[in-house]
């Protein structure tokens, strides 16, 4: 066997498990879900068919589109909030602390993932309720009692619980990887600290910052737990609509339509974001 052929075989041997895994557990189920969106449900049983009924029903249903807009708005709000709130923390960890402190901080940011997300959301119910801590604090300053539970704010708190540590970690890694000489050069040339952030640091870390925001968006857009347990399912997001469809009348094909629309939306947004991240300044 020639040297080149041996190298090709070796490369493919190690690539194969990942490809097989992706094919079996991503591509095939995705294709099946797409096919299922054309099936019909008769007497609680799914019947293979090639009908556009589910697509026509869902895409022509006002509730679907209002739910889509609401889900999108909440995910965008969570992404902006998480990105803006995480940046000062990430900046501090990247530039203002020692390596040891940064490592410990990143370790502590990972710790929330050790506990179940559902448990953390249930804990938030106690905090956000009308007789909870936040309401009591607002009461002291004459603004309460206010219940944030079963509101869009409650949902946003849940989304940030899920994604905020991850956004801080990704932003920190991204900022810490910046060539420090660029920052020094900016300072030497009389650039103010604020301008250095906006003209040097953010453009240099653009890819990482966008990827961090993208992760937040993806996690929030598809989340079921927070809108249901902290938002009171009022109004329902797309993930809640999926669950409702499967629960009632076994409408898996309609749920498949919603899922396909969600995946297409995420793909479009992810590609746009990545394209923007790698776009060169003209």
């Amino acid at each position: 066997m020639a040297e080149g052929q041996r190298r090709d075989f070796y490369a493919w041997f190690w690539r194969a498990p990942l490809l097989v895994w992706q094919l079996l557990f991503f591509v095939v189920p995705l294709a099946f879900m797409f096919v299922m969106s054309f099936w019909l449900v008769k007497n609680y049983r799914m019947t293979p068919a090639f009908a556009f009924d589910n697509w026509a029903k869902m895409l022509g249903w006002n509730i679907f589109w209002s739910s889509y807009a609401y889900t999108m708005a909440l995910a965008v709000a969570a992404t902006i909030l998480a990105s803006v709130l995480a940046f000062p923390a990430a900046y501090g960890l990247a530039f203002r602390v020692t390596d040891t402190t940064r490592r410990w901080a990143l370790f502590f940011l990972i710790i929330p993932f050790f506990t179940s997300y559902l448990v953390r959301v249930y804990a938030w119910q106690v905090v956000l309720a009308g007789n909870g801590v936040i309401s009591a604090m607002l009461g002291w300053v004459g603004l309460g009692p206010i219940s944030l539970l079963n509101t869009p704010i409650g949902t946003l708190v849940g989304y940030l619980t899920l994604s905020f540590p991850l956004v801080v970690i990704l932003q920190t890694i991204s900022l810490a990887s910046i060539d420090k000489t660029l920052i020094e050069a900016a300072h030497n040339m009389g650039c103010s600290p604020l301008r250095t952030v906006f003209s040097v640091i953010i453009p240099a870390a653009k890819v990482g910052l966008i990827v961090a925001g993208l992760f937040c968006f993806i996690l929030s857009f598809g989340d079921f737990v927070s809108p249901y347990y902290l938002g009171g399912s009022k109004p329902p997001t797309l993930s809640i609509m999926i669950v409702d469809s499967t629960k009632s009348g076994q409408q898996w094909p309609r749920a498949a339509v919603i899922a396909v629309v969600m995946i297409l939306s995420l793909l479009a947004i992810a590609f746009t974001a990545v394209k923007f991240a790698y776009r060169r300044r003209g």
Partner: protein
Amino acid sequence: MSKQTLLKPNRRDILKYGVASTALSMPFVSRAWAQTVELNMLAWYGHGEPDVVAEFEAANNVKFKPKYYAGGDNMLALISQSPPGTYDVILSDAEFVQQLNEAGYVDELNAADYPFDDFLFDEWKQFPGHWKDGKLFSVMVRCGHLGVSYNTTAVSAEEAQSYKCFWKPELKGKVGHFDWHLPNLGQMSLLNGNASPFDIDEAAWGKVKETTTSLRPQVGGFFDYGGTFNGLKNGEMLAMAGIGDWITGVLERDGAKVASVVPKEGGIQFTESWSIGKGSKNADMAKKFIQYMLSPEGQVHSARMAAYPGFAVTKAGRKALNEKDPKEAQRTGQVDGAANDPVTLIKEGRIKYRGVPAQQGLEVWNDFWSEYKGS
């Protein structure tokens, strides 16, 4: 074996005698394992928990493997996705038994195996949908009533006597829904004066939608069992539609200031029935379990279930409950002659059985429910 070997065995001795003793004990161990029957259960949460099944498990060397669902549609969805024989015993909401039977998911039962003569109420012996062409497919095991559930500090007992209390201005944003269209829309139908709340024509259905939509500004959220439970417990929700004592009863036992009543417009009965899954490999044990649940001991466990209480359906079961837990029997009206005796309420015409929509498709009701939630 030398004394020295016994006192100070080396590693090889330990391995040798360990393997030998394990091999010798295998027949006994495997026999014990072989006798343990695993029963797969499909049920609402709580029916396979130790407070209900532990005694039966111990007495019959059975181990339950429960799969829980929430709502009849969800139950049908789960069973339709499983191969025949997956579930040995199936607890179904009574209104879905007919569909279970039509789809061929359950086996025929022998009526002589169950204590129908001891049932508290004659109508329950021939519960709609449980029999077809003289053949029995499911046996009612417990029931409960749905009405107005409320926080007693925010709603008076008098106000709770009508579903109209949900529209009370002070409850704005504090009225919750159990997230299942059937009980909620059934209650709205009762409020509109429909004698058969699930069998209504298009005009009446239009009015039910109108009434329900007018409640939307009052609604603080749509919840599953856990959310409903927490909402009432932490005072976030001061009144709940679509539920009854099956949730507030658990909270009441913990001292929460909540209660459920059947209002003047009437209440809805949820009914739960056991069937044996088609293709079950443990049909005999499944039958024995259903017989146990209808025995006085089983009825007491069922009525006092930790997850959610219910009513006993047999006379012997009610008697046993009064002996074992008179306080709970009193609280739930399961005392002969009590004003809120569940059987008396049915006889007075104040209770309607929960059913599936007779003149509209279930999908129509469900679609409206989704629209209502999103409005």
